[in-house]
Symmetry: C2
Subunit: 320 residues, 2 copies
DNA sequence: CTGTTAGCGCCTTCAG
DNA sequence: CTGAAGGCGCTAACAG
């Protein structure tokens, strides 16, 4: 491997001069700098990350922790994060295994953005206590070194139910995500509250945010219920699963049964009838998270933030 | 930050003894090791990545380069990669920006798996020339330090056309991916060859593997053509886009028009009629890639590999 | 079994 | 404007 000393030797300068030249310091005559850079270039010199990191104690890397990586909306979210951070000279790596959590205390990344329910809150807190800075997207967490950017789950749930209530007289089903998930809990709590205030009859079905659990919930509803019910699927994935079951039944979506999802993931645009769902900008969400971590790394203390959501009308909620 | 010297001091041992203890060397009495580990634990010691890397010249990290990250099948692919590499004590990071390419020569990663058409072949070759090892999933590339795991695109194209030919008399359209993309080129070449051998009439429409380009192609076909045509979409995404256009027309998929895709991405399972497509195991693909890079890093010279594909029948190719 | 020591590659203060 | 030197945190000969 060709290192900085090699370049210094060939250019007949000291190591430090070579370093200055490479890092564009004004301490070197333009002339010598150009000569050094030419040699570096010729030798295909590329600085070694570990060496630089060890000295600078900074990697300019942000770790983005995602699970269920194949899931639907990560692409846009990550783009939003990338776009902002690149402009501010940070690189982004996506990490999706538990072992990668240690990158944070190992100082392989300068900061982290976390949307990963397998990343325990205790661990996050212990890292925060060590002085590492993080932005969380999937839980509330109050700490000097942690800041959150959360969806307005409660607002979204209300909007979803408002849309359903208008069309449904008999019963409303709430299909949840995995127990303990923040987003699911919030949406469920807000939905229950909303329904109870209006004294509407409802039932909760446990799901896990997967298409398969949507299918199961749909089968359960078909068996135990009559037509003219409404379903608030706490995410779109499950709604997709439901479609495949109802479309094989004699219940017509948007007529016998009304469905609202959450997330407005792109593939739902190809469902027929089009799914009514709760929409928000994934890239804005990512951008907000990126901004927060950037500010934190620069000594500011940003406040938590809520991401707006709105109802996206489809035909899965129709007239009775 | 608490470092190894701090631990050594508190334990009244030398730095090296502390290091040995922490790394589980048998050179230390069990008793002293336990004592040292206890102290390390108490101080919440976590080794610094840069320091270790600088010394060992090895990160145990594999970079996986993906673009169009939101795309459909990356989840399974990445799982396949993860599963294998974790068992062999490597961690995986996903990189999706051009700037991250330099992680390879900077030695931030020990090796790379590349499925990213924005990663130029010249760059890959130059890194290979520097001694870095890579596995490519989206091009042919012959080099000591590069090895490829490719889909059997040609076989898949043949199978797709075989399915179409049986049902279509009039004309077959081939809708391509972005020009210059290996997978698209291969599928297209094989499809053309196949059709020419059988003297069937066909037409090529330029796409770019996106849903939107599928929609455009569908509109074009609606305008210029009569019913009873067949379409080989060189990937599923475009087929999905087509569905949305044809479903608004009076052409019935599987009857007036026959469609075959490529990839068998999960969301096509929710299309009606179900899409006929070319299927392969994404996780096996990832696993194969992971194995290759692992073997290469351990001094073996694995051979290139082809991933089997097969026809997955749906109802988008029906009887006329 | 344990301690001493010499770097890994790079940056940066301090002299010159 | 340039050079010498120290050190970031850790490992691994080599001595003891």
């Amino acid at each position: 491997m060709v290192g900085i000393r090699e370049i210094a030797k060939r250019a007949n300068v000291s190591i430090s001069t070579a370093s200055y030249a490479i890092n564009g310091s004004s301490k070197v005559k333009t002339e010598t700098r150009d000569r050094i850079l030419a040699i570096a270039n010729e030798l295909n010199y590329i600085p070694n990350m570990a060496g630089r990191t060890l000295k600078k104690q900074k990697t300019n890397l942000i770790g983005v922790y995602l699970t269920n990586y194949g899931g639907a909306f990560y692409g846009e979210l990550v783009s939003g994060i990338h776009d902002f951070l690149h402009q501010h000279h940070y690189d982004v790596i996506i990490c999706s295994s538990e072992r990668a959590h240690t990158f944070i205390p190992e100082k392989m990344v300068d900061g982290a953005i976390i949307l990963d329910s397998t990343f325990s809150t205790e661990k996050i807190e212990s890292y925060a206590a060590r002085g590492h800075q993080m932005v969380v997207l999937d839980r509330e967490l109050s700490h000097q070194n942690v800041c959150s950017v959360l969806l307005d789950n409660r607002g979204g749930a209300k909007k979803a139910l408002l849309a359903l209530e208008k069309k449904v007289t008999k019963k409303i089903y709430l299909v949840t995500g995995p127990p303990g998930t923040y987003d699911s809990n919030e949406r469920l709590a807000a939905a229950k509250k909303c329904l109870e205030e209006r004294k509407l009859s409802y039932e909760v079905i446990l799901g896990d945010f997967s298409k398969e659990s949507g299918r199961q919930a749909a089968r359960e509803i078909l068996q135990k219920s009559e037509k003219e019910v409404g379903i608030f699927c706490l995410n779109d994935e499950m709604a997709i699963g439901m479609y495949s079951v109802f479309q094989k039944s004699n219940w017509k979506i948007g007529k016998d049964i009304h469905i609202v999802g959450f997330d407005n993931i792109e593939v739902t645009h190809y469902l027929r009838p089009r799914l009514t769902t709760i929409d928000y900008s994934k890239s804005d969400w990512g951008k907000a998270a990126a901004e927060k971590i950037y500010f934190m790394l620069n000594g500011k203390q940003p406040s938590n933030q809520l991401v707006d959501v709105k109802l996206k009308g489809g035909k899965s909620v129709g007239s009775i």
